[in-house]
Structures are given as C-alpha cells and as structure tokens.
Symmetry: C2
Subunit: 274 residues, 2 copies
DNA sequence: TAGTGGTCTAGACCACACG
DNA sequence: GTGTGGTCTAGACCACTAC
C-alpha cells in the first residue's frame, strides 16, 4: 500500500489547495470545500484532473491497477468519498474501470470484452467478430487543408495516412482512410500494421503511447465510386455508410481523422439513444 | 413541503424493507443495508425503482418538480445520500433533471433545449432547426410480422401507422414510417398530428401519457426507390440513411417502431463515442 | 484473513434561485 | 432569508477477490 513518494503527495495537495481562497488549516474538520472565487471548481473535479494527469503521464499504464481509494485519499489529503466521486466520473468516461474486490484499473483497447468500443458495426446475424485487416497503404504526407482543420494543425504539417480494408466473415466490409498526427506515430509502417493482430487502437496505445479516449462521428449515405466499389467487391453506385470520425486523446486533443465506408447489406450501425 | 400521504410512505418503506433478511429495527443506527439473499439489490436501487413507479403512475408529471431529496428521504425512511444516489442514476438516464437551487424535475419532450434528444440529424451549416412536418397518412391496421416482433406483440394486433415527411429549411429531408402500439394511441388521427406544433413525442406525452425513455437505432445506407425519391425530391437511387428505431417507455416496453429515410446531402447523423 | 470497491448514514457547509 | 441541489467529511458495515 501507499508506496507513493511523499514529494508527489505534497505537490498534489498544493495543487488542490490553490483552489479558492486560502483554505483554512486542513485538519480533520470538514469544510476544506472551495471558497467563492471566479475560478471555482469542486474538490473532486480537481482530484479527477490530478488522476487524469497521472494517467496521461503514464504513472499508471493501461491495464494496470491504480492505487486504492484510501491510498489516493491519503495522497491528496481528501476523504475517500471525494476520491470516489472523482473516480466515478473517470469510470463513466471509460478512462478507468472498477472491479469490486480487486481494484480500479486503467482501461485499455487490448481488453477482451471491450473491442467494439469504437466500431459500432454489427452483423445482422451472429456475434460481432473481429475481422481481418488488409493494409493498402501507409505513408507520410502533408496534411490537406480539410484534415489539418480537423486535427487542429496547419495545412502542410506532417501526417500519416493509412488506407485499409476490413474483412468480416471473409467479406470486404469496411474501407478506411485514416490520417494520424505526424508528431505522434513516427515509426508507423505498413509492416507494423500488418503484423499487428488485434485492434489498431491497441497498437497505438502499446507502441506509440497514444490512447484514444473519445470520438465524434458524422454519418452520411454515399454512393460507391468505381475504385471503392472494386476494393469492397460491390457494384459502383452501391449505397455505403460514410463515417467520418475524429478521435481525441487526453485533453481533448484530436489525433486521428478517419473516414470509413461501410457496406451495410449484412451489417448495420448500432446506436442507442437515451 | 412533505405534502405526501403517510399511507404512501408506509407502503414505500415496507417495499424497501422486504429486501434482504428481516431488517433490524429501523432506528437511527446505520446498517439498514441489505442482508445476504439471492435477490439482493442495494437500497438506492430500490428507492430508484420506487421513484420510477411514481413517475410511471403519473404522481409527478412531465415538467413538474418531484419532492426534495429531504422529503423523499423522510418518505422512504432512508438518508438523503441514498435518495441522492437514486436520483443521480435517474438523472443519468434522463428521466429527471436536476436544477440547482430549484429542485428536481421530471423531464419532458416539450422542453425548449432538449428537442433533439432523439433526432441526431444536424445541418452541415447553421443551427439545428425544427422543421415543418407533413403527415401523409395515419391509419389503424394489423401489425405485420416484422413490426409485431419488434413491438413484442402478436402478428395482426392493432397498430397505428403514420407516414410523414419532415422539411428542414424548406427541403424534404426525412421520410418517416411509424408504427405505434394500438392499445396506447387510441384517438390518434392525422388531424391531431397536423395541428400539433412541436415534437411528435411531446404530443404522445401530453395526449396519450406515453413517454419515450430510450431508443435503439440500426442504421444502414440504402438507395431511394422511385416512390421515396418523389416524396423527398431526389433522384431514384440516391443513397439515403435508413434509420430503424425502436422506442421504449417505462419498464423497457417497446411502443414505437420507426423507419426513417434521411437525405444526407446537406445534413449528417451526429454520434459521439466514448 | 486482509484488501478492495460498494453501500449507507449523519451532519456540516456551499452555491444557487426566488420572493 | 429560506429552500433546493451540490460538495465534503468521517465512520461503519457489506460484498467480492485473492492469498
């Protein structure tokens, strides 16, 4: 337990206390709550930010267990309940996962069950299965204006472009065109992609230390052009789902733009509203 | 405050206590927690269920305020924290909405801001605007097998079918084909639909007491047939988004099947992954 | 048996809205 | 000022997992 260097704890507490007005002596009494100030934010939000920093800095790596709630409470000099609320939100955002009796773990794209966190394409019949991937291309190039805008970089900045086809049950089903931030993903090659078995995001996480946290998708229906049709083994003009995804890491920094074209004759895009 | 009949409170407490083994005297001491039993569920889940019942029964109607946390705590004889956790989950499911300083309110499809809770179609440029609706048809008929299966009724049972076109910025954009459970929606006519200004779900809620809580959607790309093309003012064969939605009320009972065909030349379907 | 997350309580104070 | 939700604390016990 509590194998954390006191120095770190000290830093953390300082960060926490620079919240509102000078916090009264942080003894055992309640009301270390925030004071009125223009930049007010609840304690648990600050704790959440501190934990997120540790996640981002790699202090706790994907798949690993983070310290127990009691340890974190001691480290940040707050009550267990406050840490709990911070972790609750992180768990709601899928940054960590709680497992009763075991601990709280940093989520990972390697995990057995959660491979379809970002791919919502479901077969009409049968279970979701992870298909084979055929990499068509993987090269560095200068970002076109549109991509640069989405990645929040300048036109002409370096990006990595990948094109691939995904096969489900032996059928070409998805044609992906992917742009990645050049600064991350320096050594990425077609070979690496081809050798890798499993989700692409797991590779990014393991090899490049870039974790996809959330994404937004814009979906349209489009007609397959002849080149696309050939790659997907459909007729030209076949209606396809066009899914334009932007993925974000920590700090809501965009790192990937992906345009997928889905064949939806034997699969559909699943979405739940609430 | 606390204008609740004691009889109800009594009922509630009884319901709560039939949880685990015989709860020891429910005094001020802690540990009214559940005992080991095959059908264990946390206290706050039971409270949540009780509150949900009151919502469903109409004790608190959409738009109204529910009793304060303190009142509910007294009513159910639990601590405020337990009620809070129950309400937290209900708020996460969009059944109620908390407003600091005011109270907790039953959500409604009438609300100003939340009109696009179920319609994820966003224009390429400009703000989401609520379009005009043209009802093509509204009639009772016997449920086809496919619809019956989705609505969890028998083939041939009574359903109401609606067909309509939605216009965004004057352009036909959505063609909806809707099937509603016949048992609910008895007096629904094309006239009522046409007269109604605002979201259809608001009409269902106000006139038929049926509240849509959540929905699932299956999305594909399809080609417009000639009839559809005419109604949507596009060429036959134009790729359209096919959105098959099943909507649920309380108790996860399906009450609506809706097949929408979306023109996605100037709009897109927006989705967020996390 | 020990450690972890999960539940529950009781009480305090803060931030916000409204009369 | 009063009432509401929001935050924070401290301590207790329960349920699950592993050793």
């Amino acid at each position: 337990m509590s194998s954390l260097p006191p120095s770190l704890a000290g830093t953390a507490v300082a960060a926490v206390q620079d919240n509102g007005a000078a916090a009264p002596g942080a003894g055992t009494q309640p009301s270390s709550a925030a004071a009125a100030s223009p930049t007010f934010s609840p304690l648990y939000q600050q704790i959440k930010a501190l934990i997120t920093q540790s996640l981002q800095s790699g202090e706790w790596k994907p798949g690993e267990m983070i310290p127990s709630e009691m340890d974190l409470a001691a480290r940040y000099k707050v009550s267990q309940g406050t840490v709990r609320k911070a972790i609750d939100e992180l768990a709601a955002e899928n940054l960590v996962a709680r497992r009763q009796g075991k601990g709280t773990f940093v989520t990972t794209h390697h995990e057995d069950g959660v491979k379809f966190r970002f791919l919502r394409l479901v077969p009409d019949e049968g279970e979701p299965h992870y298909g084979a991937s055929q990499v068509l291309e993987c090269k560095r190039l200068r970002a076109p204006a549109e991509i640069a805008r989405l990645l929040d970089i300048r036109t002409g900045d370096s990006v990595v472009q990948i094109r691939r086809v995904l096969f489900f049950s032996g059928e070409a089903t998805v044609l992906d065109e992917i742009w990645l931030l050049g600064t991350n993903f320096k050594g990425l090659t077609a070979e690496k992609l081809t050798e890798w078995k499993g989700p692409m995001y797991a590779l990014f996480e393991a090899e490049f230390g870039t974790r996809m946290i959330r994404a937004t998708e814009k979906i349209r229906a489009v007609a397959a052009d002849s080149a696309t049709a050939a790659l997907l083994s459909v007729d030209a003009g076949t209606p396809l789902l066009s899914v334009e995804r932007v993925s974000f890491t920590y700090g809501d920094r965009p790192v990937e733009v992906r345009r997928g074209l889905y064949v939806t004759t034997r699969h559909y895009y699943q979405n739940d509203l609430s």
